[in-house]
């Protein structure tokens, strides 16, 4: 600690503990982002973000155009929904999202004239994103447009972005941190985006910084992505944006860990980045923000990476939100024979699912298909208190104790040892030699603790 200092930043580019899983990014990091074709049917769940579901605005049988608002996020913590295709609204269906949410979804049958998705992607990766005329945008307008465009964090949690950028009197934002770490193994969508469309990210970052009136903008990238760093450096020339090159380590991309790495501050337990004067956003989100404000087009598409040894042709794709995962997999050549588990997101924190008609949502950062060999795990044995999980936990918790407490439904011990501080990064499960499902147990323990507090 402290031996290596990050140049120009208070932090040292590293955080306590963490793990080094094989990143397997080579499978897809050389393949350029490809643009998916317009799907025949689009399914848009009404809740694709954290918070309150949006209110459906269209009825069955109604015709919608590309980019038309079909669901309105009325509540503060909610996001609007826009149609990525032109077509006819069909009857609502029930979908079960990979994260277990069972909810109603608008489905749209493609009909009539469509926009070219290729053009949309070209727009994003073009080099003519403005860098100097940002000041023409009023901060409040920026927030409003972000809200109305339905922008949510594309890193995985899908937290509505306008909530983060809404100015707050009590907690002043000092630094805007753009998270380009992408510490999850396999995923390469952020990397490709940074490499192919750095200008859009920069534009979005400048706009967001203006909205939150941050003095500093930092783009954080792990040191295993030299190409992206190079491109970003070029794109950020003559701007205030700094680039922090961080140690490759999981979970470097978690906001608490990232802030510790770069700024050297710890977010208080149960607090938010804004408690230490930081606003944080994903690189993908920044590109979308730039697009929403400058091109005035809402969030309808995103970049995902489809990777893993269980897929025939790992690819990075520019897909419309609401496209069925079936089609995505089909586009990537289908599953191999030994595919065993399909995960929405990365293998550490993603959600596995079995129903391939599930749509891609705003929070889907990738689809990872793992093979039998990769997930083969030994039978669970007893915890021998070796302490490896303690040495791995980035939150400095004692996972084994939390997990045992959860297993024996002992919520008082669980709360005493701060079970709620766990953000389920999976480091402990990864290193556990006894193959105990620590994270899963802690997750149930959190539910139990919450339930017992409510009683």
């Amino acid at each position: 600690m402290g031996l290596f200092r990050l140049k120009g930043f208070p932090g040292n580019g590293n955080f306590r503990h963490g793990i080094h899983p094989p990143d397997n990014k080579h499978l897809s990091n050389e393949s350029k982002v490809e643009v998916m074709d317009i799907p025949k049917i689009i399914t848009l769940p009404l809740l694709q973000h954290l918070g309150v579901p949006c209110k459906q605005l269209v009825k069955s049988g109604q015709m919608v155009k590309y980019g038309e608002i079909i669901g309105e996020g009325e509540a503060f913590i909610s996001a609007s929904l826009h149609s990525p295709v032109a077509g006819k609204v069909k009857k609502n269906t029930m979908v079960t999202l990979p994260n277990g949410m069972h909810l109603s979804a608008i489905s749209i049958q493609t009909e009539g004239e469509q926009v070219s998705y290729k053009r949309l992607w070209d727009e994003i990766r073009s080099k003519d994103w403005p860098r100097d005329c940002i000041s023409i945008y009023d901060p409040l307008t920026i927030v409003k447009v972000i809200h109305s465009s339905g922008v949510v964090g594309l890193g995985g949690a899908a937290f509505p972005t306008h909530v983060k950028v809404t100015p707050n009197d009590t907690r002043m934002i000092d630094t805007l941190m753009i998270n380009g770490c992408e510490c999850e193994p396999y995923l390469t969508c952020d990397y490709r985006l940074m490499k192919e469309a750095p200008r859009a990210i920069v534009a979005g970052a400048l706009l967001t910084a203006r909205a939150v009136s941050a003095r500093e903008i930092v783009i954080c990238v792990e040191d295993n992505k030299p190409d992206a760093i190079q491109k970003l450096k070029e794109a950020t020339e003559q701007t205030v944006i700094k680039i922090a090159i961080l140690k490759t380590k999981y979970p470097q991309g978690s906001e608490k860990q990232l802030i510790e790495s770069v700024i050297g501050l710890e977010i208080p337990l149960g607090g938010l980045p804004s408690d230490v004067g930081v606003a944080m956003s994903n690189v993908g989100t920044m590109a979308i923000v730039g697009r929403a404000i400058i091109k005035e087009s809402p969030l309808t598409h995103r970049v995902i990476s489809v990777s893993g040894r269980g897929i025939n042709q790992p690819k990075n794709l520019f897909v419309p939100i609401g496209i069925s995962i079936d089609e995505v997999i089909k586009f990537c050549g289908g599953l191999t024979k030994d595919a065993a588990r399909v995960v929405a997101g990365g293998p550490m924190m993603g959600f596995s699912f079995s129903d391939f008609s599930t749509p891609v949502t705003k929070g889907t950062s990738g689809i990872t298909v793992l093979t039998h060999d990769e997930i083969k795990s030994d039978e669970e044995t007893s915890c021998i208190r070796c302490g490896r999980c303690v040495d791995a936990c980035p939150m400095n918790l004692v996972p084994t104790r939390l997990a045992l407490a959860a297993r024996y439904n002992n919520t008082s011990i669980a709360s005493q040892y701060h079970i709620h501080a766990c953000f389920e990064c999976g480091c402990c499960s990864y290193v556990c030699p006894a193959k105990i499902n620590l994270v899963q147990l802690i997750r149930t323990g959190k539910k139990l603790a919450a339930a017992s507090q409510n009683l």
Binding site: R401, L404, A405, R407, Y408, N410, I413
Partner: protein, 266 residues
């Protein structure tokens, strides 16, 4: 120096070597009952240590003043009715058990009421443990041990003074605290263990107590080791002769004829 060493060894013996709980088996009830939480156990230990010291003070005073043969107070009162020699032999040690248990019970109750009224905060942290202590054998045991070192000791110079008495009691309480806190730590851990159903609760506590007792046996002889290390034996210097008694022996009967008093046994 020698007195200090003596005190130190009494303390060490009471706290670790001959631990009240693990060697003498006194205070088993709270050891089994009130050892589920470390905070609880620590509070209990503190309360016991406090009460045991008070009880030792009271019982030592009563024993030396009233109960033991020739105690000043009872001899003084008896002096009104009897000759001086007879008054000096008044022996009330038979009342000792009753007196001790009453001294303990009333001091516990008094302290509890006092603390509860005037120090509610203190009461919440340690006063709540007080009622549990009356039936704690450790306190009575300490009083009895002190008594055995005060009454009926052959060598008048070996009779314990107040300092030794309180040291024994206080460190006996410390030893109790150590044992119960260790036990509570282990039992908190056991909350997360898959203990066979029949052994849950008291049984596993006793088994752990057994293993702890084994571990504490490692301290056996530490006191004499320290004594030998710090104070090697040296040769005698002065000698004083003391009064003589004549005794007669035969196979069946012992009779003692001494200059002062005569006790005949048939």
């Amino acid at each position: 120096m020698i007195y200090l060493l003596d005190i130190m060894l009494i303390a060490l013996t009471a706290a670790l070597i001959n631990n009240f709980v693990l060697y003498y088996f006194v205070g088993i009830c709270p050891f089994v009952g009130v050892s589920r939480k470390v905070e609880m156990a620590f509070g209990m230990g503190l309360a016991v240590t406090f009460v045991i010291s008070i009880a030792a003070f009271i019982s030592w005073s009563i024993t030396t003043m009233v109960l033991m043969p020739g105690a000043p107070l009872s001899a003084f009162i008896a002096g009104f009715f009897l000759s001086k020699e007879a008054a000096a032999t008044i022996d009330l040690t038979i009342l000792s058990y009753i007196v001790y248990i009453f001294a303990i019970a009333s001091s516990v109750q008094f302290v509890e009421m006092y603390v509860r009224k005037f120090f509610p905060l203190l009461y919440n942290s340690f006063g709540v443990f007080l009622p549990l202590i009356t039936t704690n054998c450790a306190i009575l045991f300490a009083c009895l041990t002190i008594m055995s070192h005060v009454v009926g000791v052959e060598n008048p110079k070996n009779v314990w003074d107040l300092g030794r008495a309180i040291t024994l009691a206080f460190f006996g309480g410390v030893g109790f605290t150590i044992a119960i806190v260790i036990m509570s730590g282990i039992r908190e851990e056991l909350e997360l263990c898959d203990i066979p159903e029949p052994f849950q609760g008291a049984a596993i506590t006793l088994v752990i107590g057994g293993i702890l007792a084994i571990a504490f046996m490692g301290f056996t002889g530490v006191d004499s080791g320290i004594r030998n290390a710090l104070m090697p034996e040296t040769t005698a210097r002065v000698s004083i002769k003391t009064p003589e008694q004549t005794l007669f022996f035969d196979n069946e009967v012992v009779s003692i004829k001494s200059h002062s008093n005569q006790i005949g046994v048939q």
